[in-house]
Symmetry: none
Subunit: 410 residues, 2 copies
Amino acid sequence: MKATVELVSTGAELLSGRTLNTHTQTLARYLAELGLELSRETSAPDDRIAIRDAVRDALARASVVIVTGGLGPTSDDVTRDAVAEVVGAEIVLHTATREAIRQRYERTNRIWSEKVSRHALVLSSADVLENRAGLAPGEAIQWQGRRLFLLPGPPNEFEAVLQDHVMPRLKAVADVLPLQRVFQVAGLGESDIVRLLPEEEFPGPDVSVAYCASPGLVEIRLSALPSAAAVHARAVALVRERLGEWVFAEQRVDLETVVVEALRAAGKTVALAESCTGGLLGHRLTNVPGSSEVFLGGIVAYANASKIRDLGVPADLLEREGAVSPEVALAMAKGVRARFGSDIGVGVTGIAGPSGGTPQKPVGLVYLSVADEAGAKVEELRMGGPRATIKQTTSQRALDMVRRRVAAVH
Amino acid sequence: MKATVELVSTGAELLSGRTLNTHTQTLARYLAELGLELSRETSAPDDRIAIRDAVRDALARASVVIVTGGLGPTSDDVTRDAVAEVVGAEIVLHTATREAIRQRYERTNRIWSEKVSRHALVLSSADVLENRAGLAPGEAIQWQGRRLFLLPGPPNEFEAVLQDHVMPRLKAVADVLPLQRVFQVAGLGESDIVRLLPEEEFPGPDVSVAYCASPGLVEIRLSALPSAAAVHARAVALVRERLGEWVFAEQRVDLETVVVEALRAAGKTVALAESCTGGLLGHRLTNVPGSSEVFLGGIVAYANASKIRDLGVPADLLEREGAVSPEVALAMAKGVRARFGSDIGVGVTGIAGPSGGTPQKPVGLVYLSVADEAGAKVEELRMGGPRATIKQTTSQRALDMVRRRVAAVH
């Protein structure tokens, strides 16, 4: 029988509007790899009775129940009490976890108090799941033929324990693994993709095609049962043929990781001249461990004075063309390359809004340039949306330009 | 009696990972204006039985139930069938809505089909709520003393009907507005806060205290009924007394917004010298509209050569103390201030990991410096956690140092 999976998210912040619940989407994407789907999600506040009832109801319907949040040391962390009541377990101190937390506190010179050790309280019947990203461990419990998992609430900790411990355990309950192929595209929008490869061209109904779009990123997923392997392979070949140069990965990986890997493989270094992205590009590259091998640094030239002084953009060019122009983007890319002595220089200038736009140069207009020893290239972007979306989409396109330059696609 | 509100979100896309559920957050923020809180949220797939059960359960607990999605014309739009079964209503064609849709189709030259008129199917017992943003109207149903609302699923249509029709009706049921106070703290961890102000010192059980922690941020929320106003005020005073200088806001606002506002109010400018944060600080400041008034730019000095060349850090100082040292952080802050001619300079250097640590200088060791005309200050941070957490926590502390410097707290 196919496993049914429910999620119970706990935390007042999810129901007060303070925090957007991302657990459902994260979990659903991991489950998809196993051919599993979420059959229900419930968000409950930090209330023992409410959590107890939600978990009890979920266990009555589903064979796998994942509960997140409320495992910390404060009085509103009541998840483990609620779950202990449902499954009839005691709460005990997990001494190995307590000791690990204490050592971590000593290493980082933080003041230990007995209260902190509440992170190490677990259900007596649980397997303790180490949390590499935080203090509170996860827990795995088998109860009346059901599998129950308690996971920490912070998204990075949730994903770490899910990846390290829950997924391997769920592989055992997923019977038929579907064929899946994920294509990630940063340089095209969903409508460009559908134009280059209309859905009706995909071979037959046995392959399902799903698009998932976020700012500057479209994920295309092809799924099929193992019995439809030949049709699935034809669909995969079709995407590669039509969209190949735009696909930056056929797996779940960040664009910045792909770019750092490509630079490392090519033995090339990069430096950044950022205006409207304000540091986001550098932030993203430096999110990748080991990026210091290929990223030399950059200039955040927010004020025009910095573009002139730090990047050598000619003052009369700025005056004549305006800060948001292909000429200035190009001069920024060349200027930062010269200053840092990097193989590649990137220049980004645009109007992130909400103010600062004109009819000729509206909010969402951005010029991107990538320069190397062989020359330079400039692209223009026109986008809608709020400031954060414009910055994010711009950073995606800039990173993808670097990737394609290094791969010599363009 | 205070109204209890539950949300039932329907739609396979919410549980497959394709769409992030934003309804919960949107609704919660509107409810907060009325002093109402969501007591539970459930996401169910496009399955009549699953939706019926979820709505029935919600009606058994809550006095107000809001159901979203599944009101369109296709075969997977089963919400109205499911709800009709729960409340024992017929489904009828709302001719005024049907006519409005038809006229809209004519105006926009779209091809009308009888299928489109399925948008105008409603429960016989419902008040029909006009949807200015789309085709499917909302519905308001009174049933056994409960209020039940059906709202369209697309986020903009959901919000339009919520705003136009649901909020005015809910104002009638929101009787007592609770007292709430939110404190936001960036410079302390949850365990530091609990040590400075142990929970047991809060006055009495009539005030509820909730903590919500994310990297570099703890939100403390005190809630009470109006009848407990005096106790609530004592609790608020207690937080201010113990944690005052660490509280960057008593409302829901980003630290970067507070910092930009503080700089603007003081008429001061800032420039950044970032090493381990790689641009994150600049990214965050430039997320704030209008930040160009106070943020001049920065140097992302990832390589040591850039620290020397662009920030004037003496090569022998780097050699002697190492890049991750209080002395270098200080020189970076002073150097970037001099280069950009800003009132305030910020220097950040540290080891974000996962590699690069030594026993003397482990991963998570960071030095932060803020310099202005009056002098400079250096702080040391020691953290655990992954690279992303270390960067985020560092950026919080750096922004908070700027805030406190401008507010002359330190």
